[in-house]
């Protein structure tokens, strides 16, 4: 590449964030987990929090997130990241504690832990990656899978009679007094990705200010288990997921607005 020669006049507009380790990820091509990672890393960089942040991994496709971030990190049992993060934050209140959870992790097995972390107003930030499926284990139905969605454990499509309708967790957690900032964003196009990044920055600021629990839900793709191409997967988010999981701010407490 002739970059070397032209560099003097060029300014770097975008490069690898410092909080992100310079290693390839194991994610499938086009999986937006990678975007979510990058946004989180950028937000941490921007706020200068890299040396303070402790990351808690979920069990899910993002289990190895600790390999991908240039941060202190630990790895919680499936669904228990909020509890583990509570243990970290309570004993190290001056650190910034961030959990990253999938929809199976957060909504299904870990429903009690997230609900109570939010209710307690636990001063942690949760990045909630909702891809309407269990990615890691090969595409089983999640509590967030859409009605009729075919998955490897709902081969005829999700039957809402038997399994209910998808759970909108941001709406649920927004009910709790302890949650200070709960928003849903999407990763399906550039404009939305930019909004998602802003929300993550705000969520971290909420924690910095000690205002309570903050969470950014990100609608995310799983091309592999949805069985479609990455570009189609982004469209699927837009046309199928967004209508069911409306984007928006579900809880922005007054003290957050004042930030």
């Amino acid at each position: 590449m002739e970059m070397v020669m032209t560099e003097p006049q060029l300014q770097t507009v975008y490069e690898h964030p410092q909080s992100l380790a310079d290693v390839p990820t194991h994610y499938c091509p086009g999986c937006t987990h990678g975007i979510a990672h990058r946004l989180l890393a950028e937000a941490i960089d921007e706020l200068g929090l890299r040396e303070q942040t402790i990351l808690v991994s979920p069990v899910g496709c993002a289990v190895f997130i600790y390999e991908y971030f240039n941060l202190d990190a630990c790895e919680a049992p499936h669904g228990r990241a909020p509890a583990m993060a509570t243990g970290v934050k309570r004993t190290r209140p001056d650190n910034i504690v961030v959990t990253y959870q999938g929809d199976g992790d957060l909504v299904s097995i870990g429903a009690a832990e997230i609900l109570h972390a939010a209710a307690r107003g636990e001063k942690i930030t949760t990045i909630f990656v909702n891809n309407a499926i269990y990615g890691m284990t090969g595409g089983q139905m999640a509590p967030t899978s859409l009605p009729g969605q075919k998955t490897s454990s709902s081969p005829l499509g999700r039957d809402t009679d038997s399994t209910g309708n998808p759970i909108r967790m941001s709406e649920v957690l927004a009910q709790l007094d302890g949650s200070a900032y709960i928003v849903r964003r999407s990763l399906h196009d550039v404009a939305n990705i930019r909004k998602a990044k802003k929300a993550i920055v705000t969520a971290l600021k909420v924690q910095m200010a000690g205002l309570g629990f903050s969470m950014v839900e990100l609608l995310s793709s799983c091309p592999t288990n949805w069985g479609i191409q990455p570009t189609d997967a982004l469209k699927w988010i837009e046309t199928e997921m967004v209508p069911y999981f409306p984007l928006g701010d579900y809880k922005v407490r007054d003290d957050v607005k004042a930030l």
Binding site: H26, Y27, C28, M136, T137, G138, T224
Partner: protein, 184 residues
């Protein structure tokens, strides 16, 4: 006598099915058989492999350290498994994609341009069957015809229409191998 086959390649090259069809065929020949996939870390991409063991007696281990036959579909698999094949064993390499050469002198090596052949037949997904056809010529654990019967019986419904092509691929693989073995 126990005979072990290792199939290895990229995910998507049909190595799993290649092993399964061989296993089916052997079973229908009245032999004992096991098939087991590489089943490792839940990571995407990378190489996949499976093991087939055929025997006339009950099979203990479905895996062995040194299989008698290695059927490798791409460079990474070649590099990874070449050394593991038993002394005196057979290495079948998809020469359409594999650019490296075996350094081992204690192996029979069969280079089959399987991907090319499949492409010529009009469907890249036939690569695996070409390889199976070739393998059974060089290492006649069961007759090629047994695999043909197995294809008829076990080809999944949605791929039934590809049966004639599969037959051709099998025959073509056998033919390629026959020529090579004879010419060797």
């Amino acid at each position: 006598m126990q005979q072990e086959f290792l199939f290895a390649g990229f995910g998507g090259q049909g190595v799993m099915f290649a092993g399964q069809i061989l296993a089916h065929a052997a079973m229908d020949e009245g032999l004992e058989v096991t098939w087991i996939p590489s089943y490792g870390p839940e990571m995407r991409g990378g190489t996949a492999h499976c093991f087939v063991v055929i025997s006339d007696k009950p099979i203990g281990s479905p895996v062995t350290r040194h299989p008698a036959v290695g059927i490798v579909f791409n460079n990474p698999s070649f590099t990874k498994y070449e050394a593991e094949i038993a002394t005196g064993g057979l290495l079948v390499a998809n020469s359409s994609l594999i650019t490296v050469k075996s350094q081992r002198t204690d192996l029979r090596v069969l280079e089959i341009p399987a991907t090319q052949t499949a492409d010529d037949l009009g469907d890249l997904r036939l690569t695996n069957i070409v390889m199976v056809g070739a393998t059974l010529i060089a290492y006649p654990a069961i007759p090629v015809a047994a695999v043909e019967r197995a294809l008829e019986k076990y080809l999944p419904a949605h791929r039934r229409n590809l049966l004639p092509l599969n037959r051709q691929a099998l025959a073509k693989g056998a033919e390629l191998a026959t020529n090579m073995v004879q010419s060797a």
